[in-house]
């Protein structure tokens, strides 16, 4: 295993350091997979950290910690990212995905993280939430480059969830 850590002040601007850190830590170990994986890892990390800061009402004198490990001893190697933050307890399993037929303004962060990871869980350790995000090293299949013009745009609600 290889592992590296990052500590950030709990501010939204500081989260922009995550991208460079991920490249520093993971470009070499991931090899070709870094090209498609790192933007997804960054997006998932961003969503978890933003939720921690905003919903946890964290302040700049508090810290976020990020630890990345490439777990290669398992039968299916994976990337493990652990994010630690203060704030009240948070259980993502209690957060339902927004209804795709009723698009809303907010509430997509947890859904995005779930869709980007093979496992997403949060443990409470003392007064800290410890989010564990596992990323498969197998490239997903997807469609790209399509022009999307809906026949009838969906209505958008103001409903907000985590």
């Amino acid at each position: 295993m290889t592992g590296r850590s990052l500590t950030l002040p709990a501010t939204l601007v500081a989260l922009r350091d995550i991208e460079g850190w991920l490249h520093d830590v993971l470009d070499a170990p991931l090899g070709n997979a870094a090209t498609w994986m790192l933007p997804r890892v960054e997006l998932a990390a961003q969503e978890v950290c933003v939720n921690a800061i905003t919903h946890g009402k964290l302040t700049a004198d508090q810290e976020l910690t990020l630890d990345a490990e490439l777990v290669s001893w398992a039968s299916e190697p994976f990337l493990c990212l652990v994010i630690g933050a203060g704030g009240p307890p948070f259980d993502p399993s209690e957060i339902a995905d927004p209804d795709p037929l009723a698009p809303q303004v907010h509430g997509y962060g947890t859904m995005i993280v779930r869709n980007l990871t093979r496992r997403f869980s949060v443990d409470r350790i003392g007064d800290t939430n410890r989010a564990t995000l596992e990323f498969s090293l197998v490239a997903p299949t997807r469609t790209t480059g399509n022009t999307s013009v809906p026949d009838q745009p969906h209505p958008v609600s103001e409903e907000t969830t985590e």
Binding site: L12, L43, V50, P103, V105, H106, I112, S148, P150, V156
Partner: protein, 108 residues
């Protein structure tokens, strides 16, 4: 994020907002402010050009959805120019907003 004034889209006369770089939780309020100001000013048909956006998170997406909702309430709509970057566009696919917005290819 940086935005450029590019007053009217030549294709359909929509008011255009050009976004470059990161559309994230830090920069999203700027886009929301600019879009809502145009809508309040009566420009209810907007085109947000994301061709040169490099990263979009859920907060960036929320700013677009909020503007779209406000525009539709006012009888208009917000159309999107797709990012060149598949990674930046991925958040639309993950959230199914690629089926909600009218999305154009860059350069179209």
């Amino acid at each position: 994020m940086s935005t450029d004034p590019a007053p009217h889209d030549p294709q359909d006369g929509r008011e255009r907002i050009v976004v470059r770089g990161r559309l994230d939780v830090v920069s999203a309020p700027d886009l929301r402010r600019d879009a809502l100001a145009l809508i309040e000013d009566g420009q209810v048909d907007l085109l947000v050009d994301l061709a040169d956006a490099t990263f979009i998170d859920s907060a960036g997406l929320a700013s677009l959805v909020h503007a779209m909702k406000r525009a539709r309430e006012s009888g208009g709509d917000v159309h999107i120019v797709r990012p060149h970057s598949d990674d930046a566009y991925y958040v639309f696919e993950l959230t199914k907003f690629d089926e909600v917005f009218v999305i154009r290819q860059p350069g179209s």
